[in-house]
């Protein structure tokens, strides 16, 4: 497999993030800066402080790092994701993606690549795998123009790399779940973005597909120098090679390397869900088992 060409991608510029001494800020340029973001769905035009979906969320994603954002259902993951993608306004605080507002970053193309959840897609839509992958170039190409030769060649390389080049002319609905996901990965990477954001990548994918996905995402992260953000309710998602993990439940409970993830944190974040499912007494043991890597790594780190 020849090396993918990433020239033409947007140069990373130092962002104008002005927050000073927050411990989450690890120096260097950040790909995504989320500063003190709170959001509540307005009821009658007034946001009720007690019903905030996100409370004081501060999260910095370094360039080139791979972050897993995990949290139970209803933790505000989708809301945070929508804010990062510029789909939601009306939050307090500040969000910057490569020094731009999220909406501006998306409109420009070539900055954010996005792999949506599987169930949001109408799979019977008459599109071939290649047509779907080419859609990733829409913002980069601009209005009234067709995709350039160079970009189409790059998409072909991506399809080969994803192992679905042979299926390129097949309708998207005829592929397996894992293949569809890899097609969406190709689309997300088509405009040579700096940041790849994946929403619940493990849902609806069988176990072999999940392993394949983990290997592929590690591989892509390294060879393309991508900044990756994986949002999931499934703790296993961070086993896909995340160098950092953030636990979200309304606010950020933990943000560091997966090795430092403790049972206490997991219990705090997932407690409600785990105790609902298996009863409070078994929570401790199950939480340890669910943590990826060795069990040592899930012990508290002093």
């Amino acid at each position: 497999m020849e090396k993918l060409d990433t020239t033409g991608a947007v140069e990373c510029s130092p962002h104008g993030c002005a927050h000073g001494s927050l411990s989450e800020h690890h120096g260097g340029a950040d790909a995504i800066c989320i500063d003190c973001v709170s959001f509540g769905y307005a009821a009658g035009g007034q946001t009720d402080p007690a019903r905030l979906v996100l409370r004081d969320v501060t999260l910095h994603v370094e360039l080139g790092c791979s972050l897993g954002i995990i949290g139970p259902n209803g933790a505000g993951k989708t809301t945070l994701l929508k804010i990062m993608l510029g789909l939601l306004d009306g939050y307090s605080g500040r969000v910057q993606v490569m020094g731009m507002s999220p909406a501006a970053a998306c409109r420009r193309g070539g900055i954010i690549g996005y792999v949506p959840q599987r169930h949001q897609t109408e799979w019977r839509f008459p599109l071939t795998v290649r047509q779907v992958a080419l859609m990733g170039l829409t913002g980069k190409t601009g209005l009234l123009k067709w995709y350039s030769r160079d970009d189409r060649d790059y998409v072909q390389k991506l399809l080969e790399r994803m192992g679905i080049a042979a299926l390129a002319e097949r309708p998207i609905g005829e592929l397996s779940g894992g293949q569809q996901q890899r097609c969406f990965m190709a689309r997300a990477l088509a405009a040579r973005p700096k940041i790849l954001i994946l929403d619940e990548p493990l849902v609806g994918i069988d176990e072999a597909g999940q392993r394949q996905f983990a290997q592929l995402s590690r591989n892509l992260h390294e060879s393309l120098g991508l900044t990756m953000v994986i949002v999931s309710h499934d703790i296993r998602a961070i086993a896909t090679g995340c160098s950092r993990v953030a636990c979200l439940n309304q606010t950020i409970h933990y943000h560091d390397s997966p090795a430092g993830l403790t049972e206490d944190v997991l219990r705090e974040v997932f407690h409600h869900e785990i105790s609902c499912a298996i009863g409070p007494s078994r929570v401790t043991r199950e939480a340890r088992l669910a943590t990826p890597g060795s069990t040592e790594s899930s012990r508290p780190v002093e």
Binding site: G86, C106, E122, P126, V132, T138, L143, P171
Partner: protein, 302 residues
């Protein structure tokens, strides 16, 4: 059959109708692919019925709406204004889910119908009022019958309509082609397309504007009630036949053409049957045949 069509071609009225039919049939059937894939069938119907409110208003103001009344560009303008206003009103009402979109469409649809009927009634009732007759001028000839407005008639078509249909039909097709990649992405995954740089607001209103113009061009021939058939049946039929976008567009166009030409011929052959119902009858037969013969195969595959 062909001889008979050639005979009919020598009748001016039929020739004009056929030119309009091919022009609007092409536009409608290609647009219907977008309508069906984006699930806008009902909104198309709402906008079509708004055209009836526009026609009623045009009649009230004494603007000729067909027959020997000459070039009724004011009538077209009023109908277009009603269609656009309804499209925008539906968008505003349903934004942020204050009202569900289908409820908004339902409300605007009946409002426009009632308005149109009331305007026709008022014109009849006010014929005895001096100020009204001075204002709009005396009624020239018979006002178009409600049936002609609702169900269309060959007699409504003038050479002026033929040129208008060809000109604006070409404009709609050019815009459709120019924004094709954005429109397809928007129809496939609205939210995701925004992340990939599609200006979804622009595309949404562009599609509504194209629908409005198309409906204005089509109402004279097919009638208000049956316009939406032309905007749904070709696309729905083509979707049963193929899972490839290029083929779907071609099949849709073929179905639209067959409906238009077949319907027009039927309407004259069978002794002045209403044009609209004839076109729709042919389209429905084509859809039913496709559903029976190809539908089973398509549903097995997906």
């Amino acid at each position: 059959m062909l001889d008979r069509l050639l005979d009919l071609w020598r009748i001016d009225l039929f020739r004009d109708a056929l030119i309009v039919g091919i022009a609007v049939g092409t536009v409608c059937s290609l647009l219907s692919v977008v309508v069906v894939l984006k699930r806008m069938a009902f909104i198309g119907e709402g906008i079509a019925h708004a055209g009836f409110g526009g026609l009623g208003t045009a009649v009230f103001f004494g603007v000729a709406t067909g027959g020997a009344g000459g070039a009724p560009w004011q009538a077209n303008l009023i109908v277009l204004a009603f269609c656009m206003a309804t499209a925008i009103a539906i968008g505003v009402l349903s934004r942020r889910r204050h009202v569900e979109p289908d409820s908004a469409i339902g409300i605007m649809l009946v409002a426009a119908m009632a308005w149109g009927v009331l305007m026709l009634d008022l014109r009849r009732n006010l014929q005895s009022a001096d100020w009204y007759v001075r204002w709009v001028g005396p009624a020239r000839g018979a006002a178009p019958s409600m049936e002609a407005l609702l169900f269309g008639s060959l007699l409504n078509v003038t050479p002026y309509d033929a040129w208008l249909a060809v000109g604006f039909g070409a404009l709609v097709l050019i815009l459709l082609a120019a924004f094709f990649k954005e429109i397809v992405f928007y129809a496939f995954e609205e939210t995701v397309s925004q992340v990939f740089g599609v200006r979804t607001g622009l595309i949404h209103y562009l599609i509504l504007a194209l629908l409005s113009v198309t409906i204005v061009l089509t109402v004279r021939l097919a009638g208000i009630v049956l316009v939406s058939a032309l905007l749904v049946i070709p696309g729905a039929t083509a979707n049963l036949l193929s899972r490839r976008l290029g083929q779907v567009l071609v099949y849709s166009w073929l179905v639209g053409m067959a409906g238009m030409i077949g319907g027009l011929a039927l309407s004259l052959e069978a002794g002045s049957l209403s044009t609209g119902p004839c076109i729709v009858a042919v389209l429905c037969v084509l859809f039913a045949a496709t559903f029976v013969f190809a539908g089973r195969r398509a549903s097995v595959r997906t």
